[in-house]
Subunit: 115 residues, 2 copies
DNA sequence: ACATCGCGCAACCATCTAGTTGCATTTTCA
DNA sequence: TGAAAATGCAACTAGATGGTTGCGCGATGT
């Protein structure tokens, strides 16, 4: 948890923003949660229980795939999608970085007030 | 080991998705990082150094504000914005939850393979 | 062999979004 | 008092986004 990852993180919103954007849709967020359960699902399976069309789900999966959060493998006539954790880890690091920034700012403020 | 707790977290993408969406834009992500530095900024100050219009920045700040990530206070003729950490904390929790789900899935898979 | 399942492609549509410009309003300060 | 600064409000545009429907095609199972 305490890896010293310096300023390489700071200016990478160019790579992180698409991941956040991919998570910014309720449908996609639900898909991510389901796939993070470990089991791969086909498009039709993921469509089951959602009142959306198969095409809609398919499009959402494409978005997640281009964001790198999901990988697809063709298995016969069906296309299996499985979760891919790396982008989310990157995004978590980023949020931790911002939180740290904020916490340090508060500490400085507190130190200043107490003088 | 299956805690029946997670329903408090699991089904909250309805509240988390807007925060992710707010972070899903490069401009807004940059604004968040800047404001997380601790110091409050006015709209004009935040516009400085960005090739966007003041109105564009203003709109982005509105988006961040309705997502709860930023709070504004009127100070004379200028409007000061400061970072608000709670939504980001919630989102971090959520990502941790998904990661845990994934890690446990991997553990189960490993245990299964090793039998 | 053939019906069916799962999928991709394409067109189409409505709405949202990011951005602009123009103008009005309030606050500051010389 | 009056100019300039900081903001708000409104209208508008181009392009992205989320969703649908229709059709065609390769894989599957009986």
């Amino acid at each position: 948890m305490s890896q010293k990852r310096p300023s390489t993180i700071a200016l990478k919103w160019r790579t992180h923003a698409p991941v956040f954007a991919a998570l910014g849709d309720e449908t996609r967020l639900a898909l991510v949660v389901k796939l993070a359960g470990g089991r791969p699902y086909s498009i039709s399976q993921l469509t089951q229980g959602s009142r959306l069309t198969r095409q809609a789900i398919s499009k959402h999966l494409r978005v997640l795939e281009t964001a790198g959060m999901v990988q697809s493998v063709r298995a016969g006539r069906e296309n299996l999608f499985r979760f891919s954790p790396r982008p989310m880890e990157g995004v978590k690091e980023y949020l931790d970085f911002v939180s740290q920034q904020w916490d340090r700012a508060l500490s400085r403020l507190k130190a200043f007030v107490e003088t």
